[in-house]
């Protein structure tokens, strides 16, 4: 996934206090858009995504010193972003005292009102179908469909087994296909 500076270089620079800021800037330039789009597809609204992406990278800055090399850097950052998105959506549900289905409807309204959506009707229908999925199925679908991540990488992000991910992805695709066929 990384295409610019190698993660090992970034981590090495970050270990040195004199080059820590430089390492963090390299990290931002390399992963900021990937993390943003991952969040945006989950929360739909740009402003919410903007707040969350900043919070995610602050957490990365605070915890990068404790990052262990037994995992890939980008899957570690995806995990942080995913957890922030789930926390945000749960707070939103608790705040409005609504069910998960109501949250899906709200996200659909947000999608309809968003000025930063440039997709066609089919794409809009796909997004409307996605907001109806459970969060984990949605996450698996997004990372597989849009990011072309392997199940092993998604497993590192979600902490779920590859088999469970495959089943979740299968269920998600079936629901989306049904939704798209119902809207034709």
């Amino acid at each position: 996934m990384p295409t610019e500076v190698d993660d090992a270089v970034i981590l090495s620079k970050f270990q040195d206090e004199r080059t820590r800021n430089e390492a963090f800037n390299l990290l931002l330039k390399k992963y900021q858009q990937k993390i943003y789009w991952h969040i945006r597809r989950m929360v739909i609204d740009h402003d919410d995504a903007d707040d969350l992406v900043q919070d995610v990278f602050i957490k990365i800055w605070k915890n990068l010193a404790g990052f262990r090399n037994d995992a890939q850097l980008y899957t570690w950052m995806y995990r942080i972003a995913t957890n922030e998105c789930i926390t945000f959506l749960n707070k939103k549900k608790q705040k409005n005292n609504v069910s998960l289905d109501d949250v899906a409807y709200e996200l659909a309204d947000t999608l309809a009102d968003s000025s930063y959506f440039n997709g066609d009707a089919a794409q809009r229908k796909l997004q409307e179908a996605l907001v109806t999925l459970p969060e984990k199925q949605k996450l698996v679908f997004n990372m597989k469909y849009y990011d072309d991540m392997k199940y092993e990488e998604i497993s590192e992000v979600l902490g779920t087994s590859v088999g469970a991910l495959k089943a979740s992805f299968h269920l998600a695709v079936k629901k989306i296909e049904a939704y798209l066929l119902s809207k034709d």
Partner: protein, 343 residues
């Protein structure tokens, strides 16, 4: 059976989804990612500063005491703002305070300013201090001069009444000119009249300088003489010479008695001469009151009196004043003849 989901051909099994483009349908504001890194980096720096507390320190146990301090502050505010502070202000005081202060400022500015109505000479305030100091020095000098000059005790207590009396006198004198008149040319001859009067007084009183008489002496003199002379004839024929001498000595101290004596003596001399030259006159004299009175005086008394109190100059002057030239021999003879005739 569905294809393995790891195989990218799985999408071919879902026709509806396959028709949907995989392109990202979401967009972001223009240039959003250009400054995203900078904004996140700034936020990171702020977070670092806040967490490390870099640049800021707190007193020891600050947070331990913070609650109590806040509670004390609240209590103080309540006491100050509460109605039970023990102090009150007039109703509407704070509503009018701003306007009152502004008015006071305007008044002060008007007084201090060189606005219309009041002005001072140029440089007045620059020399004001020295002028005041000079005035103080002058006042102190005047006050201190009391040591060099003195006035009678109680002078100032009576000064007012004295001035008032003087004013009254002046007014009386000024007013008297209207009510009283004097003879014409009075003041031209006044000086010479006074001088003449002084001369006359001195001529009468010239022998008295240096002597005094008992009070009321002259009032009793005439009576005393008569008592010793005329009235004494009825009381006693014999008078002690020593006693008479004492009386005569006392009486003769006066000038008036001298004149009286001289007059009597002159009358006696003149009468003797007249009797001696004219028998008619002598006989008439013997029948006069004076002759009878003098005839009663003993000759020895007359001699003693003359020896003690009259000198030749007085007798000569007395006779000369009558326009008669008399020498000592004539006078002796006259006295002898007079004495023989009365005996």
């Amino acid at each position: 059976m569905k294809r393995d989901m790891e195989n990218k051909d799985w999408i071919n099994d879902y026709d509806a989804l396959k028709k949907v483009s995989k392109a990202n349908p979401f967009t972001v504001p223009a240039g959003y990612f250009d400054d995203l890194s900078a904004r996140i980096a700034s936020l990171k720096n702020i977070t670092t500063v806040n967490e490390n507390g870099a640049g800021f320190t707190l007193p020891q146990d600050y947070f331990d005491k913070l609650s109590a301090n806040i509670q004390s502050g609240i209590a103080v505010d309540d006491a100050v703002n509460g109605a039970d502070t023990g102090f009150t202000v007039p109703e509407g005081y704070f509503d009018e305070m701003a306007a009152n202060i502004q008015s006071r400022i305007n008044v002060e500015e008007a007084l201090l300013g060189s606005g219309p109505g009041f002005s001072v000479p140029e440089g007045y305030f620059e020399v004001l201090s020295s002028n005041i100091q000079s005035r103080i020095n002058m006042e102190e000098a005047l006050a201190g001069s009391e040591e060099g000059f003195a006035v009678p005790e109680g002078y100032f207590d009576e000064l007012s009444s004295n001035i008032q009396s003087r004013i009254n006198i002046e007014e009386a004198l000024a007013g008297a000119e209207e009510g009283f008149t004097i003879p014409e040319g009075y003041f031209e001859v006044l000086s010479s009249n006074i001088q003449n009067r002084i001369t006359v007084e001195e001529s009468f009183t010239g022998a008295e300088h240096g002597f005094t008489v008992p009070e009321g002496y002259f009032e009793q003199l005439n009576q005393s003489i008569l008592a010793k002379t005329v009235d004494a004839e009825q009381e006693a024929k014999v008078v002690s010479i020593n006693r008479n001498r004492g009386i005569v000595r006392k009486l003769f101290r006066s000038t008036a008695f001298k004149y009286v004596t001289a007059a009597c003596f002159a009358v006696a001399i003149g009468g003797g001469i007249l009797l001696f030259q004219s028998p008619g006159a002598d006989s008439s004299h013997k029948n006069s009151f004076l002759h009878k009175q003098l005839s009663d005086v003993p000759v020895n008394d007359i001699k003693s009196y003359l020896d003690l109190n009259v000198d030749a100059g007085d007798t000569q002057q007395a006779v000369t004043s009558e326009g008669t030239t008399v020498d000592d021999a004539d006078l002796k003879n006259a006295l002898k003849n007079y004495a023989d005739s009365v005996q």
